[in-house]
């Protein structure tokens, strides 16, 4: 079995949501940094610090918009094997997670406001210890994965019950 990538539209969605963040969060924060920097110290040092903070914030967000999405698209991978789910993610800090199918409590599909125009969804996998997500999947694919996982969870639960019953009979 091979690792699958998220939907190609994910790159556009990431860019769009980050542009929104740039306009509504980062630029106002940068303006505040420049304003406070100038008002704290009158000798010009504060202004310089303010502009540096603002610059770092904006550059970081610009990188998030233009550079990171293609890398994230390559790094974000998932695998749904008969007995486990594997998720790989991260750019600098990579995480590889393995969830045995038998530990899944339930599966859910969620769709955020920004995901809706791109017909993307997120599959949430709930275990007794954590919640893991496979983000930015095509809604149809996400629903198909959700129902497939639900069936497998039911099969595994049935097998576990049969095994417990067999153990009980042996005793």
């Amino acid at each position: 079995m091979e690792f699958q990538r998220v939907d190609k539209k994910a790159k556009t969605k990431w860019r769009f949501s980050r542009i929104m963040a740039l306009i509504f969060v980062v630029l106002p924060l940068a303006a505040l940094a420049v304003f406070f920097g100038a008002s704290i110290a009158e000798d010009g040092a504060g202004t310089v610090v303010g502009w540096i903070v603002a610059g770092v914030l904006v550059v970081q967000q610009v990188l998030q918009i233009f550079l990171y999405p293609p890398i994230e698209y390559i790094q974000w991978q998932y695998l749904i094997a008969p007995d486990r789910i594997e998720i790989k993610k991260g750019i600098f800090y990579k995480t590889h997670t393995v969830i045995p199918i038998s530990r899944i409590q339930h599966v859910a599909v969620t769709q955020g406001v920004l995901q809706r125009p791109f017909r993307l969804s997120t599959v949430q996998i709930h275990t007794a210890g954590d919640v893991m997500e496979i983000q930015e999947l095509n809604t149809a694919v996400a629903e198909e994965i959700c129902s497939r996982l639900q069936k497998r969870v039911n099969v595994k639960a049935g097998q576990a019950l049969d095994a417990a019953a067999a153990d009980g009979r042996e005793e």
């Binding site: 990579k94 995480t95 590889h96 997670t97 393995v98 045995p100 275990t127 210890g129 954590d130």
Partner: protein
């Protein structure tokens, strides 16, 4: 099954005691805020004075008003508690324990016996004097144990009744269908006999516990808290003391800073040792009182733990709901080869710092033998897989370099502010040395092992922890790497397991990432 039964009447006072603190604080705060307004109302003041039939000062009137409100509110609250007691019942039907409370706002909780995870019988001093016992029942349900940090049932019965209910629940929980039917025909509930205690802690254990488990920081914070209380209660006392002490302190600091670096480090060590001795004595006394008569027994599918001199704890853990054991060792315990063991049990505890302690202190070499008696499911020999030397870089070298840089910065700032540099330099040397020791120990301690039954995660430097997690309780495994770690083939392992709180995780940092596939395969099986 047993009929509806009500709690012991002292439950009323215990319920009331929960509210009294809030009532007193609220009434005093309200009265203090309204004092001016009340005293300005001359008609009201004169009416109070006429009622008392004598001359009373303005403060006296205020105190009487506060006392009157306090009495009235307390009486109402006592009535409410009595009402709650009157309409709170416990009963058993078929395979369910029923808890009912309330007359107007009714609540009925039905707990299947097989879902009961923990039965906790605790007795504080008051309960021991009146011969009662607090019976807490937990199922580990998210809405109570994890979200509200409460037990499903938390009631007071006579000791005999509580023991009777506990025995009944245990028998019902363990019974199979046939035994359940047989049990149903019995008229009298089963009273559990005294278990066969397999582990008992003695005075020597408490002394050792005190010597190895004391926390100097805890003592430090207690002193700070004490000083704050004194400052709050006696205004001016702290200022007077500070005025008297400060000249001596300044002299002492001046004398101290004139010594060389080596003497200063020795002096810091001596201060630490002195504080540690006081802390040890306190912990020994505290441990002797808290863990007095500590004993553990295995009864069928349950583990029973009892201890306590003033507040007696008596809890029963269902083995199937114990998902992990945590073996802890601080630095002294690592040096002396001692450790303490606690269970991670679904649904245990309604207090934040409550842990299901199984063994307060034992020899590490005897751990498996003792576990073999009470929890053979968790007996395993740790097979330490070869660790990469590069791990030392992340455990010790990088953190020490960062610490040293920070300390150098602090020393530079002190020099700039013209503060005598000897003391910050001495403190920096001690801090960097402690970080180095902690890092090297962490490198030595970190390990990961797994087999079909148990996944063992060992981590920690000055405080070493070994998590023995039931393989089927592991929910997911994760390995995290960054750019530098990937160069050395190193990763940090996260093992998420099913525990009483959401997201219970044990972490084994900076190990070879080559083990991941094998670990994941074991967990899947």
């Amino acid at each position: 099954m047993f009929e509806k039964r009500r709690c012991h009447f002292t439950h009323i006072f215990e319920l009331f005691a929960r509210y009294i603190y809030v009532i007193v604080v609220t009434v005093i705060t309200v009265c203090l805020n309204l004092a001016d307004a009340i005293l300005r109302d001359e008609e009201f003041v004169s009416r109070v004075k006429r009622f008392l039939g004598g001359e009373v000062s303005a403060e006296g009137v205020m105190i009487l008003v506060a006392a009157g409100i306090l009495l009235a509110v307390s009486a109402l609250m006592l009535l409410y508690c009595a009402f709650r007691w009157r309409y709170t019942f416990v009963s058993a039907e078929e395979n369910t324990l029923i808890y009912e409370t309330g007359k107007f706002l009714k609540k009925r909780v039905a707990i299947p016996f097989e879902k009961i995870n923990t039965i906790d019988m605790g007795r504080n001093l008051f309960e021991r004097l009146v011969g009662t016992c607090r019976l807490k029942i937990d199922t580990g349900a998210y809405s109570t144990s994890q979200e509200k940090n409460q037990s499903e049932m938390n009631l007071v019965f006579t000791l005999a009744e509580a023991d009777e209910i506990r025995g009944y629940i245990l028998r019902r929980a363990e019974a199979d269908a046939d035994a359940e039917a047989a049990l149903g025909s019995e008229k009298n509930p089963i009273v559990s006999k005294e278990p066969d205690w397999v582990i008992r802690a003695g005075a020597g254990d408490f002394i050792l516990y005190g010597l190895t488990s004391s926390s100097v920081w805890k003592l430090f914070w207690m002193i700070v808290l004490g000083v704050m209380c004194v400052a709050e209660l006696a205004e001016g006392l702290l200022a007077q003391t500070a005025e008297a002490v400060l000249p001596f302190a300044e002299d002492a600091i001046e004398t101290v800073t004139q010594h060389n670096l080596f003497t200063l480090v020795l002096l810091l060590a001596a201060v630490y040792l002195g504080t540690a001795i006081v802390s040890d004595v306190y912990t020994m006394v505290w441990a002797s009182i808290r863990f007095y008569g500590f004993r553990v027994a295995r009864e069928g599918r349950s583990v029973i733990v009892r201890y306590g001199l003033i507040t007696e704890k008596n809890y029963t853990l269902q083995v199937r709901n114990i998902h992990a054991l945590i073996v802890r060792q601080n630095l002294f315990q690592q040096m002396l080869g001692r450790c303490s063991v606690e269970a991670v049990c679904m649904g245990f505890g309604d207090e934040k710092d409550e842990t299901a302690l199984l063994l307060p202190i034992i020899k590490q070499s005897k751990l498996n033998a003792l576990l073999g008696v009470i929890l053979p499911e968790y007996v395993t020999e740790m097979n330490i897989r070869p660790r990469k030397r590069a791990g030392l870089l992340f455990h010790a070298v990088l953190p020490v370099v960062i610490w040293a840089a920070v300390c150098a910065g602090i020393c530079a700032v002190c020099a700039w502010l013209e503060i005598p540099k000897a003391l910050p330099v001495a403190l920096s040397v001690v801090a960097v040395a402690v970080r180095l020791l902690s890092g090297v120990l962490a490198y030595r301690n970190t390990a990961l092992d797994w087999n079909e039954r148990v996944v063992s995660v060992q981590c920690g430097g000055l405080i070493k922890r070994v998590y023995r997690i039931r393989t089927d309780a592991v929910q997911e495994v994760q390995v995290n790497t960054d750019l530098i770690k990937r160069l050395f083939g190193i990763g940090t392992y996260y093992v998420h397991y099913h525990g009483p709180t959401f997201n219970n995780t044990s972490i084994a940092p900076h190990l070879s990432d080559a083990f991941f596939a094998e670990l994941a395969d074991t967990v899947e099986d």
